[in-house]
Symmetry: C2
Subunit: 274 residues, 2 copies
């Protein structure tokens, strides 16, 4: 189960639900590994409740012969980690990714003795603190990162904003989805389908596209437009809806959409893993 990052990263927490995690340095490398069957699957973050959709990973989904096999949601819960013998009352420093540091402003306002210091990533900062062995050094990372690197969790729920959730897709090779041995089986009683499409630049074309779903009472759970890099006034549309690609209504809706869309790509039909 490929993922991008270090052991203890939030992506690894997602990967663990599906199988044995295998770290890759970049998303591109994780996709490459799935395409060339070095791994059966990869988990990739696709959107976050604070940061929005990760367009770069939508691009990779379009460029590689992969399909979505499952989705899962991970709550980003920052913890303060330090050596077992450490104390948060001394003057010290706290390592983490700049984004994690900026999400914990209230904590730093209340702990003037602890100075933030930037690092490459959250899990990596826990690794550094464990390796350095200085009790005045702390990291902000997941609880799991603390457990992995033998650190103590001094405080949980460090972030100012509690509602920080990342949605991940588990992706597999598109010709290779029948023999996936996922640790947790996706719930197939309530499947979703994700598609990407482009439309002719005509008045009302998006309304027509949505009619193909709405007139068949298909429930959309996501819609997003993204300007195309190729042409001005052209957009990619990302749409998710309830149901499987092979359900008769959805099959008909997609056939209808293909009558006038300039491109339709089904990214996959999949269940959720809790």
């Amino acid at each position: 189960m490929a993922y991008q990052g270090e052991p203890g990263a939030y992506s690894e927490i997602a990967a663990l639900r599906f199988g044995e995690p295998a770290p890759f340095e970049t998303f591109d490398e994780a996709f490459h590994a799935v395409e060339h069957r070095e791994v059966s699957c990869a988990v990739i973050p696709i959107e976050n409740s604070l940061g929005g959709s990760i367009h770069h990973n939508y691009d990779l989904l379009m460029q590689h012969p992969v399909t979505i096999a499952a989705e899962t949601f991970v709550k980003v819960e920052h913890c303060l980690l330090g050596l077992q013998k450490a104390s948060v009352d001394v003057n010290g420093k706290v390592l983490s990714h700049p984004q994690a540091l900026s999400q914990c402003r209230n904590f730093f306002a209340a702990h003037k003795n602890l100075k933030p210091e930037v690092a490459y990533d959250t899990a990596g900062s826990a690794k550094i603190v464990a390796a350095e062995g200085n009790p005045a050094h702390f990291a902000i990372a997941s609880k799991r990162a603390g457990e992995l690197y033998g650190l103590k969790t001094f405080l949980e729920n460090l972030a100012d904003e509690d509602w920080n959730i990342t949605r991940f897709f588990c992706i597999a090779h598109e010709e290779h989805t029948t023999d996936l041995y996922l640790r947790k089986k996706p719930d197939t009683s309530k499947q979703k389908t994700s598609i990407v499409f482009t439309l002719p630049n005509e008045q009302g074309s998006l309304f027509k596209a949505m009619a193909t779903l709405a007139l068949r009472e298909i429930d959309m759970t996501k819609i997003e437009s993204r300007p195309s890099r190729m042409k001005a006034f052209e957009y990619y549309f990302y749409v998710d809806f309830i149901g499987h690609e092979n359900d008769p209504d959805i099959h008909n809706a997609l056939t209808h959409l293909r009558e006038f869309a300039t491109m339709v790509k089904v990214l996959g039909s999949y269940g959720v893993v809790e």
Copy 2:
């Protein structure tokens, strides 16, 4: 003109188009300054071509009594900056924000003698390199950051991905938009309006909402759904379309939408500043 970041940040480049830039540490502080009339306007990033919509800033637009006065687009163009006497052929290190460093992987692959090192932000890393005075230290930041801190631009277009554009809103107090003295006037010949709305959780309600625009031939330029943090199965919809809130068709469409939407907020009608 409030902005978040340091002089030389891409946000400051956006702010300069409107007036004298005034740096603030956080987006929340920039909004607070507009609300309490410490500044007449602020520029805030709202979406990026690689990273997607910045939901946190949509939240702030909803929470503060502000309106959008203009939009502008800034191309993120990373440069390699160093001291005048520096050489890129020595063994050295390159400071920047982790995201900027990860956007320049091809550069680092081709320059094994230069090691990336994390810093809080792009402009701040230029400031550090200038202050340290070590010719083996470089920064990845905007060309303007190099000019501000007296550094030489060794290389331009450092990023792997050329298409990195951030869209900014210039926001003003909602009761205070008539006496804005913007350095560059927005183009009012082609205005846009941005709205946020929520809908009853009913089959086809989004299709009905879109009909209020489509049946009046109003051109949408953006649509995005975002799950609500308050209720499961409730969404915020972000929609932009061509035209001014007071145009008769748009006025009628918004009245129509309010007949069944559970909330409609007009974030502003505005022109673009090049």
